[in-house]
């Protein structure tokens, strides 16, 4: 077995938490159950990975099999990577039957005709997701297995999720191979990025609960503020205001769980407006700002701002539009004309 392959397998196993190693090797299926039985999972990871490498040696593992193990690891720990979303466009409306073999052949062909040294690996999952791993080399160097790109493609949709490696220069070639293989004619990057791959899917596949324009004839009893106190002397202040805020929140965000995003970024190029009495800045040029919101769960966080008294309800559409506009990067300019209060996002 090639020693670079051995080293790669060793390092991949080292990344896996000790309790997960056996399951992952089983999913991989490259080592037999009998071989797995011989492994001692109660020793330090260094030793476990050495033993795994030895077993792989017995089975003459090559880079193709090692790459599959890497996909499995990254599929389970997909949230460690940053994912960007791309949308592909077709010319016509014809729905073509998707042939996975044809897809793979065309994808490999396109990449290999441009780049001789490249490792391409596919793995299909039950939810119709095709995972593609590409390790990039140059005409003179073998592929760098430690900085691959990952692509997740759901063949029934025009969306592709890419976690590019640091080597951004290969991105155009990767995009080209994708559209050639899937019979689309164009691809563009959406302004949507997150570590949570599932949340990105929720947003573009519209799998989250959206706000529906439902008419509520009277305020809903459930999902409301704190329950009534038995003591009639305790009166809740601003009760109707609190209910109004909750209702608006529900209308805007829906009542289900929000897709998990970690940040939203706004490049503001709007005018600075102030009370003329203050005698401050009155320039004709934009007041340039960059605003970035971050949170372990951004949308839930924004949803809780108005009830906490930190924001007005309804919250600004610049924030609430994130899921249905499917973007978390914005450039905001002043809208010219009758209503200077409105903003335009190109």
């Amino acid at each position: 077995m090639d020693e670079t392959v051995a080293e790669y397998i060793r390092r991949t196993v080292l990344k896996i938490p000790r309790d997960e190693i056996k399951t992952m090797l089983q999913k991989w299926g490259f080592l037999s159950e009998a071989q797995l039985q011989t492994l001692n999972f109660h020793q330090i990871k260094d030793n476990i990975s050495q033993e795994v490498v030895q077993l792989c040696e017995e089975n003459s593992a090559d880079i193709k099999q090692a790459a599959v193990l890497d996909i499995i690891y990254n599929h389970i720990y997909q949230n460690k990577r940053m994912w960007s979303v791309y949308q592909m466009k077709k010319t016509g409306e014809e729905w073509e039957y998707f042939d996975i073999t044809d897809f793979k052949k065309k994808f490999k062909g396109r990449l290999r005709s441009a780049l001789k040294n490249v490792t391409i690996t596919f793995k299909e999952y039950e939810d119709n997701a095709i995972w593609i791993r590409v390790a990039w080399g140059t005409p003179y160097k073998k592929p760098n297995q430690y900085k691959p790109s990952y692509v997740v493609y759901h063949s029934q949709t025009p969306y592709v999720f890419i976690s590019a490696s640091v080597l951004k220069s290969n991105l155009p070639l990767l995009c080209q191979a994708l559209i050639v293989a899937s019979n689309y004619h164009d691809i563009r990057e959406m302004e949507l990025r997150s570590h949570s791959l599932n949340s990105l899917k929720d947003i573009v596949f519209k799998r989250y609960s959206q706000n529906f324009q439902t008419y509520y004839p009277k305020p809903l009893q459930g999902g409301n503020v704190e329950p009534e106190s038995a003591d009639i002397r305790i009166v809740r202040e601003n009760r109707s205001e609190k209910e109004r805020i909750h209702r608006l929140n529900r209308e805007v965000f829906g009542s289900g769980p929000q897709p998990k995003l970690e940040f939203a970024q706004y490049k503001l190029e709007t005018m600075f407006k102030s009370d003329p009495k203050m005698g401050v800045l009155d320039k004709k040029e934009p007041f340039r700002c960059l605003v970035k919101f971050s949170s372990p769960h951004l949308l839930e966080s924004l949803k809780s701002l108005a009830p906490a008294g930190m924001a007005d309800a309804p919250l600004s559409p610049l924030l609430t539009c994130i899921p249905h506009k499917a973007r978390n990067y914005f450039k905001i300019r002043e809208k010219k004309g009758l209503f200077p209060e409105n903003f335009v996002s190109p």
Binding site: S274, V280, C289, E300, S304, M310
Partner: protein
């Protein structure tokens, strides 16, 4: 003031942790070499006890204590005192240079409020800045406390003081292309905590400050409030969020950056005295 840039270069572009220090009792500037020796012995003893430092037994800690005449505001201020800890490996003593692992310096820049009525035996250097492992800070601090009967306290910077800093520094004139004026807010008590970074183009921030500040060379609380209110209003116009109710935790400009936990980084030598003066003032308020 002619400050030798070489002597003060060590201050720039490092993150310094701030402390306030009460006056040092019977500190003699002529005995700096003795102090270095005593501190060195103290550190060695602490190491033997198994406390403090994380280095192996093979490494020696060398202590240097020096006086920095350039780092002060007026003649009334005491000159700064710099303490440096370096590592010298006993194994390869010939070739290897000493590696600086920790620096700490005491200073006073226009600290008259404190030193005015101080009895002779006391040396006022209310601001203490450290860079390096916390364990070393602890050992050095302990020695100074024992030897000079002084008291160290971490210097927190309130949102009020942070807003002073950002207003002042945003207004500074800089010849080179400057970095953005950034304010970082935190809203920790929500179901999911939220951090907001609000970065303004330095030219636009300065333009705003220039229209707010009425008297050059002087800054009032009212002017700082107007400046901040303008920023809050612009933000609210877009996002409907009351930024004034969030906690301002960090401000960052091309001149300097400061964090509410009492950590500053000074980037521009031109404004070094101004920044140190402000920090000295904060340290003195914490002591009094």
């Amino acid at each position: 003031e002619n400050v030798d840039p070489q002597k003060t270069a060590f201050v720039l572009r490092k993150a310094w942790t701030l402390y306030s220090v009460t006056p040092l009792y019977r500190f003699h500037r002529g005995r700096l070499r003795d102090y270095a020796r005593l501190l060195s012995a103290f550190i060695a003893a602490e190491k033997q006890k198994g406390l403090a430092v994380e280095v192996g037994v093979e490494l020696d800690i060398k202590v240097a204590v020096s006086s920095l005449a350039d780092l002060r505001g007026s003649e009334q201020d005491q000159a700064a005192v710099l303490v440096q800890l370096s590592l010298r490996s006993r194994a390869s003593s010939r070739n290897s240079e000493d590696k600086l692992v920790w620096s700490g310096w005491f200073c006073s820049v226009y600290g008259d409020d404190l030193s005015e009525n101080m009895p002779e035996d006391f040396t006022c250097l209310p601001l203490f800045l450290t860079h390096g492992a916390e364990s070393y800070t602890s050992v050095v601090g302990s020695w100074f406390q024992k030897t000079f009967d002084c008291c160290f306290r971490r210097l927190a910077i309130s949102p009020l003081n942070l807003s002073w800093m950002v207003a002042m520094w945003a207004g500074c004139k800089l010849d080179r292309a400057a970095s953005a004026v950034e304010l970082v807010f935190s809203i920790p008590h929500l179901s999911q905590p939220l951090d907001i970074s609000y970065a303004i183009h330095p030219e636009d921030a300065k333009a705003l400050w220039d229209t707010v500040q009425k008297t050059p060379g002087e800054i009032t609380q009212e002017e700082v409030d107007v400046f901040m209110d303008c920023l809050y209003a612009h933000f609210h116009r877009h996002f409907k969020i009351h930024l004034s109710a969030a906690k301002l935790v960090k401000v960052s400009t091309a001149v300097a950056s400061a964090h509410c936990d009492g950590i500053v980084k000074i980037l521009h030598s031109q404004y070094l005295p101004g920044v140190l003066m402000l920090l000295t003032e904060l340290a003195i308020s914490q002591i009094q």
